[in-house]
Symmetry: D2
Subunit: 363 residues, 4 copies
């Protein structure tokens, strides 16, 4: 199941330690301006080696478009894009060939498939998200062309501490991708202390989308929140999803949880957008917003006990190049997944409810 | 998008105030014992009128199998099941025809489709979940036949208070479907006080599945947690999903979040199953468990301000028959969605990784 | 696999000798006028008992809409429609419980599923096509609303003899649904002679669609002819599909097979539309036309040899009520399948290539 | 719509004059031996330049596996394979940029997408079938491992003349891929005469599969013949599909068309396998066989009249490198599509009807 989406679809392939990571984007409308320079900035935000808070594995992660673009625009046909792997160090992984690293997928993989590329986790490597970021970059071109607004995510909590603020321009200025300038120093100190101890930190990402048209999504199994949740929880290391006020909303009485409609100069909206821009599974036209829990990096250099393939208890200290906190690098991936969901629903909406009936008379 | 599942699929139809609610279950293996008496207990657990904590709308909710069963077993063909509506009181809804009730889908529906069955919410009615419960009941027959263990949910939090205990047999003995016997009186008092005030309560449901084989799910877009999240958040009133320790896990350092593998007499497991029975998107063979946030019933009899279709501010007190807390009735729906996901993955797993290669030589 | 279509989808259920036959139509645009009286004429053209050339089994085949329509128009939600079975005579089938009738599906069904409703063929009964005709009737409402032209089929060959003419109005005036008035008497005599001999006739159906917009379909796996072929060959008793001049085109040299483009007052067209209105898998804007081979009714009253479930050679003379020629009753079914394919592609086309980009700016 | 298959899926990308042609094979069982040397012979049978009957465009068509294989076996993850384009001569196509070549897709493409890679037909190029052949090669490894028998196609008719014989070993010995040794000289002379005249020939391909297990396919929309028809008619230049005796069967009376079951030492079979190894949409366990009409190459060097994008009548003589008969090169493509359909159904069958229930008890 390596294809995502109903109409705007990506098919992802590749392993951390194979030839590269690639994606085929299918269903894209024709005539959208696209070349490598459009996609590359999205990859640059995802790639490792950007600060001492990310793995020192340095990959240029240059993308190459192999099909689906002609004269600078999409043709309506499959857009194949690849990022070649250039910095593989397989020797780092030989000693964990038979060890099931705690909270990694080594064990379940081995049990399910019977064969496993133990170098870097195979398909469960975080490197697979390169494909998603490329797909999201293409989706965002369609989204913007259709009149959609900005999508951005930021680190909303670090190591259990929530940070309320969100200065839009600060996000890309700090390696934690926090929005809260005031809380940054504290959060950074926390992460660096954990790193120094051979430990790691988790956190929460908030994603926001502006300029969402009303009417995306559908009741029953096409609810926007369900599709967003699946999209986000298909990213490695994520453990929870909350739409709008999420679990907090569940703790309030109805009289406080309810969010009255109000008439504004922009049209009908709600008082506080508690439901995250979605009601009954369908976008309200307000900001779409949700939060995703990201667990701490499983690979830590502290010694841990676990078992090996022979069922023996062993000690392990995971070597290799790993991020002390993966949260900031998950941000562009979640943005990408969000774009994929929204553009897919945009196309679905045009197909079923667009204003085209009566206009396509035959020749 | 009213079909759910890849191989074991349900197609849901019907409205709260139409002829009935129905479902077509497709892809079910042949030879599974099935008749109405197998399905009915699942519906009885979902239906309203079971206590003074649920809507007094009383529906017998008797199911009728229309196809796909012959001589008491499934035939491998579509199983069509219907529950006829018998207790519709459309007049209750006439006065809200042009009013957008707070936190309801009235507004988004009207904007998207241009036409709307204002009686009971149309497809966004909670009554649509009848179809899911039927589908889940059939799925559970396949699950059990395949050797799968028990699935059950319970109310883990009420109005913001978490209740830690879970006595399995207590769940069906109390109208809140709580598992914590000690906390029950307090939770009940909270809900009754809110009801008396014309208000409502939300909560959290925890779902557990025992006897899950290792190997269900796949990396990338087939992650079990992603599919479970989508399944659960496609149920009305849900706002959040947490796999295993969820958001809590994101707050811990890696050294505490990691969950070492241990060798037990049952085989390889983990110390505390923090990840909810899933690693890398694939089941570990341990209990699958997760939590779902359910917001308080939006329909409350307290006066609220909102706007109508003309954009005028109006006051509304939602009449009709509504549950002061919907959480206990969501429990069997989430169990059903869980079964649908797991059986679908069971079939997917058999198709790709089952032990059948070499055994099907042609004639 | 009882769901057909990508965006405009039908899910079919029911058996010949069960409670009824039904269909759930999903993905239909909202606001399309629909009630039972719109669908019924389509069913009336399909139903048995219309002449002495069809099975004397007489079913009223009255349809009933159970969901998805409100105030006389579609709501955009699943349209569930049922036709209850009223004239089942199961005793006719008891003696063939263990016999594999020649050219029937008895044997393959039994082998695949292990359980089989031997009364009337279960899901392989021609009665299953009731669901398709209903789906096609709904699709046609969308097609017409979108500006599409007429779709009609007719019997183009009977018992190996081709009849070239096609008078549109004659088709529904004769029980063979032939278009060739001059050849009708001969064809009728052929069929009646076969019937008198306890034998049956096959034939070829031609389907035509006028007013098809240019641009439906896509290269690779979305070719219109591939989707039409699958749609038609999913109808029982069909054995071949030819797009436009079909096999005849394969026999000509390129210089004669090629069909030059010409400029007409209607726009660009071709000299003779040899390719059936499709080039490169995409509609040209000309008439879409193709032919489908329908084998003679397998159930004949002449004695035949076959084997039973025990592998013994037995003689059989198929009793029950059967058509001496099924071809005319296949006509409305193929029209329905054609509509389902075209409307699905219409929606797909609007989603990907419709003129909506830039017009949906968020709120 | 560039993905084919339900469980065993291929996603095809690439253009004739872009960087290359590629495919992502998803859903493949793990543990199947695979490397480039397994796939290459399939491509070698498809590639041009093999005789003076194929285009002199010479491509090495060397495949490269980019993912999904580890230690010489499939991993169960996406298998990405690419063939780089090496012999593009874009200048050949500049003069036809604005001309709609007869029976080509130039016109429909332009109308649908508004943008078109006029060099070699873009996605409608025959070169796209490289992706299918690779996918079919992988599928065939699964098919063999599962016990399936041989699949082979051959040219059964050339330029309107049918050739009855089929010597298996002769097929790959002659450039027409005919099975009829006796008729070869005549057929070759016909094609060479057409070529000399700047013309081209069409024909019919017959495909046979041995060792098919009974039970593949399903009634309604999963009929094997429907899926095979769609698969074959999704290949460019194909115009018709006939299952077993096909259109011929439709011309016989039922008493002659019917094909009695007989008991053989191999099990239950039929007298002459008239239905092509399928009854009721499900394989009988006999040879699966069908025929596909292939029109003559549209690109001929004879002068033809057509119109250009401005609607003016122009004369054209298609330059470039083209096959005087495309039929023999379609053979391996149809074999590939057949394998893709059968393996997909094999997996579907295992999922729903495989002998696994009760065997997967959880841990």
């Amino acid at each position: 199941m390596n294809t995502f989406g109903r109409l705007f679809r990506i098919t992802s392939w590749g392993e951390s330690h194979g030839r590269g990571i690639g994606v085929v984007v299918d269903g894209c409308p024709p005539g959208i301006a696209l070349d490598e320079s459009v996609i590359q900035p999205f990859l640059d935000r995802r790639r490792p080696g950007q600060s001492d808070l990310t793995t020192p594995r340095s990959e240029a992660d240059q993308c190459e478009i192999l099909s689906g673009v002609f004269d600078g625009v999409t043709t309506g046909h499959p857009i194949s894009v690849v990022v070649w792997n250039t910095n593989q160090r397989s020797k780092d992984y030989g000693d964990i060939k038979d060890v099931y690293r705690p909270s990694h997928s080594d064990y379940t993989y081995q049990q399910k498939y019977g064969v496993r590329d133990y170098r870097g986790g195979g398909r469960s490597s975080g490197r697979e998200t390169v494909a998603r970021v490329i797909g999201g970059a293409v989706a965002q071109q369609v989204w913007r062309r259709a009149g959609g607004g900005e999508v951005y995510g930021f680190t909303q909590a670090v190591a259990g501490v929530e940070y309320a603020g969100c200065e839009r321009e600060f996000i890309e200025e700090n390696p934690l991708r926090m929005g809260d300038r005031a809380g940054y120093d504290q959060a950074l100190a926390t992460v660096q202390a954990l790193k120094a101890a051979g430990d790691s930190a988790g956190g929460v990402v908030e994603v926001r989308v502006e300029g969402v048209p009303v009417g995306l999504g559908s009741p029953a199994f096409g609810k926007l929140e369900g599709d967003l949740a699946r999209a986000c929880l298909s990213v490695g290391a994520t453990k929870g999803f909350a739409m709008g006020e999420g679990f907090g909303l569940a703790g309030k009485p109805g009289s406080a949880a309810n969010d009255p409609f109000v008439q504004t100069e922009m049209g009908i909206g709600t008082e506080r957008n508690a439901n995250g821009g979605v009601l009954g599974g369908i976008s309200t036209g307000e900001r779409v917003w949700f939060r995703v829990a990201v667990k701490p990096t499983s690979s830590i250099s502290q010694r841990q006990t676990t078992v090996n393939a022979q069922g023996e208890t062993v000690e392990i200290a995971v070597q290799g190049r790993h991020d002390p906190i993966i949260v900031p690098r998950v941000v562009p991936v979640l943005e990408a997944m969000t774009m994929l969901v929204l553009v897919d629903h945009l196309l679905l909406h045009q197909a079923q409810c667009g204003d085209w009936l009566g206009s396509v008379g035959g020749g």
